[in-house]
């Protein structure tokens, strides 16, 4: 596998950094090289924030995401900020917050009710990030489902394992 760049975007409290970390950890557990970064600071408060992952079989020199192949947007602001310049292949939108579903040449656009389902099917809006992870991997399939589940469980606070597993499944379901 060559270099693969992904951007998860949304707003401050949505847990996208954690999602990116889990994604990176899952990839690493499979022997891939990974770099994970995220935006910090005031821009991450209120405005749009992002977390990014680079996965590569080879050593990763340049550690910055410039042209992600996959973009996840979970807020209106993130949509406004990152979609216009998107040149990748896969665009995933959380329709709970984003009404529009644009048609872009060469881009597969998935408009999914991620947060809504987290609330309705898992019962906790807070796991929307895991639902998103499930959906994302369901689409791009860079990581073995089992590896991803393990990575999610490794990071799940005690007592929330089942809920997180459920969330991951809900996400996967969404795109199966």
């Amino acid at each position: 596998m060559g270099r693969m760049e992904m951007r998860l975007s949304g707003s401050g409290g949505q847990g996208l950094s954690l999602a990116a970390i889990i994604l990176a950890e899952a990839a690493a557990s499979e022997g891939k090289n990974v770099v994970q970064t995220q935006s910090y600071g005031p821009e991450a408060r209120g405005g749009a924030s992002k977390a990014e992952v680079i996965i590569d079989d080879a050593e990763i020199d340049y550690p910055v995401v410039t042209e992600p192949e996959v973009l996840l947007c979970m807020s209106e602001k993130a949509y406004e900020k990152y979609v216009p310049s998107f040149k990748g292949k896969t665009l995933i939108l959380d329709s709970t917050f984003i009404d529009s579903c644009p048609e872009i040449d060469g881009v597969n656009v998935y408009s999914l009710p991620i947060t809504k389902l987290a609330r309705e099917k898992v019962g906790r809006q807070i796991v929307a990030n895991i639902v998103a992870l499930g959906a994302l991997n369901g689409i791009v399939k860079i990581i073995d489902d089992a590896s991803l589940e393990q990575a999610v469980l490794n990071r799940a606070p005690k007592g929330t394992e089942e809920m997180n597993k459920k969330a991951l499944e809900v996400g996967l379901e969404l795109v199966r």
């Binding site: 401050g12 005031p42 408060r45 209120g46």
Partner: protein
């Protein structure tokens, strides 16, 4: 707006950067109302701050505004005020900014009784850097740098200010925004060093880690545990445990630094 004079705000800079339910906005609102009541001109007011979430306040206020370095707001303000005494100077500063790194400037400005007004936005935590313990984090509370609960006692800034020489001291909470406002008015009217402590919820940096609930729960907490200073005087130490005493603590004029210095200038002129 009815009570808030939008001319005191830089509307084009809003919405502000603070998190949902952050108490800074409540105190900032009280400050604008107090300045309005005081009837100052925009140009005779200077708002000076250090670094921190709270210290971003000046940017939203339509006066001469100065965002300095961490902990040094009072020292910058000292130079400004001494050179141009006609300025009405308000210092917006966080508990970290004012009482950790800035503690020395605080006690020395109090000692000099220089005519500055410190509005201490006390959210019991370092908000901007993500929730580290401050000198006003209550004993036992957790923070990212106190994962097992802080073993440090916190300052009672009213006591400290008074002992250092401040001539007006008062405290209120976000649950008492009208009290914040009236204390700021009195602080400004005191010719000397004045301190108003506003206890504010930081749901993100403090509340979450300490499981204090969301913004509303934190407001309730402040409300329920506040005791007026008049009532507190009649309560035992035991009864006061965990309570926040609010109101006017100290108001006793003393020679003000700039006035005293001006006397020397006047004497030398003769």
């Amino acid at each position: 707006m009815l009570q808030i004079n939008v001319e005191n705000l830089r509307m084009q800079k809003l919405p502000h950067i603070w998190c949902p339910g952050c108490g800074n906005g409540i105190a900032l609102s009280a400050l604008t109302r107090a300045i309005d009541k005081l009837g100052y001109d925009h140009d005779e007011v200077a708002i000076v701050s250090g670094i921190g979430c709270s210290s971003r306040s000046p940017g939203y206020l339509n006066f001469n505004t100065l965002h300095t370095t961490h902990g040094r707001a009072i020292a910058f303000a000292t130079g400004l005020k001494i050179f141009k005494p006609k300025m009405k100077v308000f210092i917006v500063t966080g508990d970290g900014d004012c009482t950790a790194i800035g503690g020395n400037h605080f006690i020395h400005a109090a000692r000099r009784n220089i005519d500055l007004n410190v509005i201490l936005f006390n959210n019991n935590i370092y908000g901007m850097t993500g929730g580290q313990a401050s000198p006003m984090t209550p004993f036992g509370r957790t923070a990212t740098t106190a994962p097992y609960g802080t073993v440090e006692r916190n300052f009672d800034i009213m006591e400290l200010a008074k002992a250092a020489g401040a001539t007006f001291c008062g405290r209120a909470t976000a649950a008492h925004p009208r009290l914040i406002e009236s204390l700021i008015v009195k602080a400004a009217q005191n010719k000397g060093f004045s301190v108003v402590e506003a206890m504010l919820p930081c749901p993100i940096g403090f509340g979450r880690r300490n499981k204090l609930g969301g913004p509303v729960e934190m407001m309730k907490y402040l409300e329920e545990n506040s005791v007026r200073v008049q009532k507190a005087q009649k309560m035992s130490e035991e009864e006061l445990k965990g309570k926040f005493v609010i109101g006017e603590f100290y108001n006793k004029p003393a020679p003000e630094y700039i006035e005293e210095y001006d006397k020397i200038i006047a004497k030398l002129k003769k």
